[in-house]
Structures are given as C-alpha cells and as structure tokens.
C-alpha cells in the first residue's frame, strides 16, 4: 500500500469513530443535562406556587398558564443548562416572552383559573435547539382533571407504577393547524406530596424547529476538529512522502549510473541521513566493483598472455620431440644438442609460468608483500639447484658460495626465490657455452648481498639503462629477448622494489652482467623462523 493511501486510511479509521464517539458522548451529556434541567424546572415550578395553583383549579392547570402578554405572575427558578447549548426553560433570556427564568424565584402564584391558560406555541424563541417547556398535573391514578392534558405514555406510567419516582423518554406531537409535527423530551415524576390532583407531574420540553441545521449543531464542532486534525496531519506528512519518493528516485538514478551519481539528499534530518547512508553504501559498492573489474582485467590479461607466451616454447619443444622420435625410429643416435634444447624449452616453460604468475600477483595485488623469515642460504641453494641441469647441458659452470653462517631475511618466499631464480636462469640461459655463472651470498654489516655474475656477452651501457627502466607491466612476455634478458629481470627488479631491497645491474669486472640484490638481514632470533 502506498504511504499516502495508508495515511489517509489511518486517518479515516481514527477520525471517524473519534468524531462519532465525541458526538455520542456530547449527546449523552446534553441529554442528561436537559433531563436534569427539565426535572429541576418541574419541581421548582410546582414547589413555588405550582402546587397551589394546580390544587386550586386542577381542571384547568397547565404550566405555563395561559396569560396575556406582560403578565408575569407566575415565576420560578430557571432550570440549569450546564453545557450552555440548549436554551433555558424560559427561553433566550430572563426577559424573554416565555421566560420565568431570572424572575426572582418565589413570587407568589396569585393568578389562577382561566387566566393561567396560555396557548402553546406562543412567542416561540428562534434559533437552534430553542425549546418550550410545559407541565401537566395528574392524580395518583395517573388521571388528569384537566381534559386538555395529554395521556401519559404507558411505558412511563408503568415505570412509576412499579415504584419509580421519575421516568423519562421522548415524545412526538402530531402536526396541528398546518404546523409540522414536533417532538421533545418528557419526564413523569412523583411530587413530594403523594395525594391530590397534582401528585404526578408530566414535564415536557418541546424542541422548536431550528433555523440552522440540527445536524450541524450536533456534529459541527467534532467534525471540524476531526477535519482539522486530518488536514494538519496531511500537511505535515505529504512533504515527507514527497521526499521519500524523491529519495527513491535518487537511489534508482544512482544505481542506474553504476553508483557514480550521488543520491542527493538535502536537509538535516533522518531522511537526509538515509540519503547519505545510501551514498556511502553506493561508494563502497562502486569501489568493490572497480576492484573486481581490475582483478578480472588483470586475470584475463594473465590468461591471455600465458596462453600466448606458452604456445611458442611448447611448439619448439614439440618440434624437438618429433625430431628426436624420428631419429630414434631410424635407429640413429639422437643429437645431444637437440635434447638439450628440448630441456631448455621445458625449463623455460616452467620459469615462464612462474613469472607470469608472479607478474599477475605483483600487478593485481594491492596487498603488501607477505613476509616470512627464511634462510637465504637455502634459498640460494634451491635457486642454483634449479638451474644445474640446464647449466650442465649448456656447458656452463654454475657455482655458488655461501657464508659460513646462516643468513636470514624476511621476504615473500615464492616471489623472492623467483627473483633470484630469474637472475640465475638468465645468466645461464644467455651466458656463452663453456662460460661461468657464479652466485655469491655475502654479508655486509646488517645487510645481505646476493651477487649473480656471468662471463657472457654482457650488455652495452645503453642496454643497461633500458633494463633498469623497463617494467614487466609494459612488456609483452615475448618481446623480452632483445638483449637476452627480459621478463625475468623485470620481475626480479619489481620484487626487490616491493620488498624495499636494492636491485642493481652492472657490467661485471669479469665481463658479462652482474646483478646485485641487497637488503636488510632479519634480526637474529626475532620473529617466527619459518624456513629451515
């Protein structure tokens, strides 16, 4: 359900019973007050001269008596009207034509007989809920000596017969002389005296037709209040609904733009906070998406590069294998150089895959290098041992030297070993046949130094500068051989940089290329020693 609909329904469900309830309560209170006023009026009139007038001439008694205009012989206390809505029994004011109210109470009722008669309906006050009062007297047998007195309603009479002092109800008068039918409140009550022709009195309050609407008089105020309540609530709530809609539209717009556009929330309340919370969440989502996209791009690039780069050595390897197979089939001695080349290609493939993996990690990972304490001595042994077969096949003497002590370093095991392996592999792969490659681990103060040198063809100054500038990022792995070095060196350089280690390439004194890695030794004894 829409918010506005829900609000309207809620208001309706609340306001309608409230109005009806209020009207009902008000009606009940008014009715009760009217009855009280009627009874008070009746008793007051009868006790202040009415009884005497009645008993004197019961056959004509009726109140107000018939009298000429200006005759104010018969007075009595005015009945109270607590809510002030109805008119007093005497009419609009103390001096109203039909009003004994305010007439000073116990004025002796002198007049009697016919002059007590008053034609009903004379000088009716105008205005809503205007009423006229009349009294009729009956003896204990519920009969009136005045033939004009109306017959008592059986229900009221029955109530009094059962012993009640007072019985009340409504009544209707049939239309007469062209006048519309009228109704009102009536009460039958026993007087303090129990006998005589006036022991029982019928008091009637005849409601006179109001010029305004009775409905309006009764329902006006509560309805007005309820309407006011509805309007105020709507006025307060509708802008809120509008803002929620605007917020919804903003969120949709932001989502459609891939969370680039802000939701846009003005003001400084909870709705604004909600808008800002959307913006924050959107920014996080965007960040997440961007990171995933970057990762996916890098992964896709990795797969593409790998596939491309692996195919070539694999093709070369297949060629070697086919040549060897042909020779074997022809019972010829296989060409050892062919076997060696096949080995080299296989070895190169392994190194290439590891390098591409390392490149992907270096490129995609914004995470810091994960360092573990490890033995550099073992690492050098592994890196050298890895190349021994190829070196032997190529006739390159691969030697290494370690210090007598253990040298430990805190580094990423895989990446740093890859870096050292690359330097050794490059030196062996591109060194000259019958040449040398030496790997030396030394300690200088608090630093370790790994030197990899060869007596290969070496590089020119120009090439050396290019090697230093080069980044694996800009390299297609296959365009890496112009000087017999490439991806491997770039990876080694990047790994060192990421570790904060020094990386230097220079022409070796013995000819060829010398690579120097330098970095802090792990503090002895500290940290978790994880590598033997």
């Amino acid at each position: 359900m829409r918010l506005a609909t829900r609000l309207a329904l809620t208001l309706l469900v609340t306001a309608l019973p409230l109005t009806v309830g209020l009207v009902f309560l008000r009606e009940r209170a008014a009715r009760s007050a009217e009855l009280d006023a009627l009874v008070d009026y009746a008793r007051g009139r009868m006790e202040s001269g009415g009884r005497e007038a009645c008993e004197d001439a019961p056959e004509i008694f009726q109140d107000p008596p018939f009298r000429l205009p200006g005759d104010r012989r018969f007075g009595g206390p005015a009945p109270r009207d607590p809510l002030g809505l109805g008119r007093g029994p005497g009419g609009p004011g103390p001096d109203g034509p039909n009003a004994p109210a305010g007439a000073g109470g116990a004025r002796p009722l002198r007049g009697r007989g016919p002059d007590f008669q008053q034609p009903p309906g004379r000088a009716e006050p105008a205005g809503p809920a205007a009423a006229r009062f009349e009294l009729w007297a009956y003896n204990p047998d519920f009969r009136s000596d005045n033939p004009a007195a109306p017959a008592l309603e059986p229900a009221l009479r029955a109530a009094l017969e059962r012993g009640a002092v007072l019985a009340s109800g409504t009544f209707e008068l049939p239309g007469r002389n062209g006048l519309p039918p009228r109704g009102g409140l009536q009460a039958v009550l026993r007087m303090a005296w129990t006998d005589g022709p006036c022991a029982i009195v019928l008091a009637r309050r005849i409601d006179l037709p109001a010029e305004g609407s009775l409905l309006l008089a009764r329902f006006g105020l509560p309805a007005l209040l309820a309407t006011l309540l509805v309007l105020v609530t709507l006025f307060a709530f509708l802008p809120f609904v509008r803002r929620v809609r605007a917020l919804t539209a903003g969120v949709r717009r932001s989502a459609a733009s891939g969370y680039v556009d802000p939701v846009g929330a003005s003001g400084s309340d909870e709705l604004t906070e909600l808008g800002r919370a959307f913006d924050t969440a959107g920014a996080q989502v965007r960040e997440q998406i961007e990171r995933l996209e970057r990762r996916e791009r890098s992964l896709r690039a990795f797969v593409e590069n790998t596939t491309h780069d692996v195919m070539l050595p694999l093709t070369v390897l297949q060629g070697h294998l086919v040549a060897l197979e042909r020779r074997a089939a022809a019972n010829e001695v296989p060409d050892p150089s062919r076997v060696r080349e096949a080995q080299e290609e296989a070895h190169y493939l392994g190194a290439l895959l590891e390098n591409l993996g390392a490149a992907a990690r270096l490129e995609a990972d914004e995470l810091p290098i994960e360092r573990h304490r490890m033995s550099l001595n073992r690492l050098i042994e592994r890196a050298v041992g890895r190349q021994t077969t190829i070196a032997r096949g190529k006739g390159v003497e691969l030697v290494h030297a370690l210090p007598g002590e253990e040298v430990e370093v805190e580094a990423d095991v895989t990446l740093f070993e890859r870096a050292v392996s690359n330097l050794v592999h490059n030196a062996v792969r591109y060194g000259r046949e019958g040449g040398h490659v030496a790997v030396v681990l030394e300690v200088e103060g608090d630093e370790f130094v790994v030197r990899v040198l060869d007596d290969g063809p070496g590089v020119s100054d120009e090439e050396l500068a290019r090697l230093h500038e080069r980044s694996y990022r800009t390299e297609s792995a296959r365009r890496r051989h112009p000087t017999g070095t490439g991806l491997g060196l770039s990876i080694a350089k990047e790994v060192c940089e990421r570790h904060g280690f020094g990386f230097q390439l220079r022409r070796a004194e013995v000819g060829g290329l010398e690579a120097i890695l330098r970095g802090p030794r792990a503090k002895p004894g500290g940290g978790n020693r994880s590598t033997a």
């Binding site: 041992g385 021994t388 030297a401 210090p403 007598g404 895989t414 007596d455 070796a508």
Partner: protein, 224 residues
C-alpha cells in the same frame, strides 16, 4: 652406502620416475601412493622421507605433522603450489626443505644426497680432507702423513677451506677473515698466499681449486 628413502606421491608417472632416478643414484627407494597409509607408518625406519602435499587419504601437511611428532628424520616436501603460505606452513611443521614442481630429477637427487650428508659443523680438533689432514689444536698440517710447514696465514687459509670441504669460499670473505687485518689485505695478496699454499701442499695442492667469480674451494676427494 645405500640409504633407504621413502617417497609418498600419488601420481603414477611422477612416482615411478622419482623412484627410478633415486635407484639410479644408488639409493634404496620405497613408494607409497596415499596419505592415509603414510600417516600410520613409523618414519624412523627411513633415512629420508619425500612427501608430496596433495595426497588422497590425508593431506601432506597432516602426515608431516604426525611424522614430526615421532622423530627427526629429514623430510623433503614436494609442492606443486606457488602459494607461499603452504611452503611456509610445511617448514613451520618441521619439513627440512621443499621442492616446487616442476623440478629436474638431477635436482631432486642432489637435494636428497645433500640432506643425507649434511655436515655437522662441530668444531673438530682434527679435520681431514682427502689427502690433507689438519691438527687444529696443534696447528699442524699433514699431506699423506707427511707434515707440511705452513705460515700462520697459510694455515688459517687452509683451515677455513677445510672446514667446509667442497664449498666455494668467496675471496672477499677470506680477505676479511683470514688475512691479518693490520696489513693491507687485498684479493691480490690472497691470491699470492693461495698460490704459495698450493705449492707447499704438493700433489694435494690440486685439491685447492679456483672457483670462477667466487674464490677458492678445497675438494674433499683426492685429485690425482
């Protein structure tokens, strides 16, 4: 000497190859194909254990943990993963070394052999290296039983090399640690000392070889 090696590797082809190469190298190799069985055996019956990590039955790291709780037989871990944390974990659990696939059979055999004869770097009073014998306490040197007179520097040079037979020792290290600091120690001075020492050692002088790009080493085997 034929040392018993146990290989735990589930891949048929690789397992067969490794056993073949170990046997060729004169080592006695047994082969298990699943981790579950490896978990239950007594590791002390072997001189060295080669353990693949990805195994059916039980993970290599669990096997390693179980073995390490029983004895200190060297364990060489084979890993196909580039993941540093696996290697680090293996080493933390007490593996002596690891090899990452792909590797050359030669490389593996060399690693196994190195592990089997890992020298105990105890300070021995008497060091023997091929035909050369050093009495460290008395600072005397014998070649084939006959004493050779050496200067202080020459003796310390020979001792430094003999303490790690077969290992190349860097010139720079020798200059720093062997040559007397008060004099101008240069690599050229070192080379002069070595050349004299080699001459004094006579036939055994051939054991003292130059290592390209590094320095010198003393071969442990007799050189004719």
């Amino acid at each position: 000497m034929s040392a018993r090696i146990l290989l735990v590797e589930d891949d048929e082809k690789l397992g067969r190859q490794i056993v073949e190469h170990l046997t060729e190298a004169g080592l006695e190799a047994s082969w298990l194909r699943d981790g579950g069985t490896a978990l239950g055996l007594a590791p002390q019956n072997w001189a060295l254990l080669i353990l693949d990590l990805m195994l059916p039955g039980a993970h290599g790291l669990d096997v390693l943990k179980r073995w390490r709780s029983q004895c200190d037989v060297p364990v060489l871990v084979l890993s196909a993963k580039q993941d540093a944390s696996v290697k680090v974990r293996a080493l933390e659990l007490g593996a002596d070394d690891y090899m990452t696939k792909p590797f050359w059979p030669e490389e593996l055999v060399a690693r196994v052999q190195a592990r089997l004869r890992r020298p105990v770097l105890a300070r021995a009073d008497r060091v023997e290296c091929g035909a050369i014998a050093l009495d460290v306490a008395a600072r005397r040197v014998f070649v084939g039983g006959a004493e050779v007179e050496l200067t202080k520097v020459e003796f310390e040079l020979l001792q430094a090399l003999a303490m790690r037979p077969g290992a190349a020792i860097a010139r720079s290290w020798l200059v720093q640690n062997v040559l007397p600091p008060e004099r101008d120690g240069t690599e050229r001075t070192l080379d002069v000392h070595v050349s004299r020492l080699r001459k004094k050692l006579g036939t055994a002088g051939a054991q003292l070889t130059t290592v390209w790009g590094i320095g010198y080493k003393l071969k442990s085997e007799d050189v004719a």
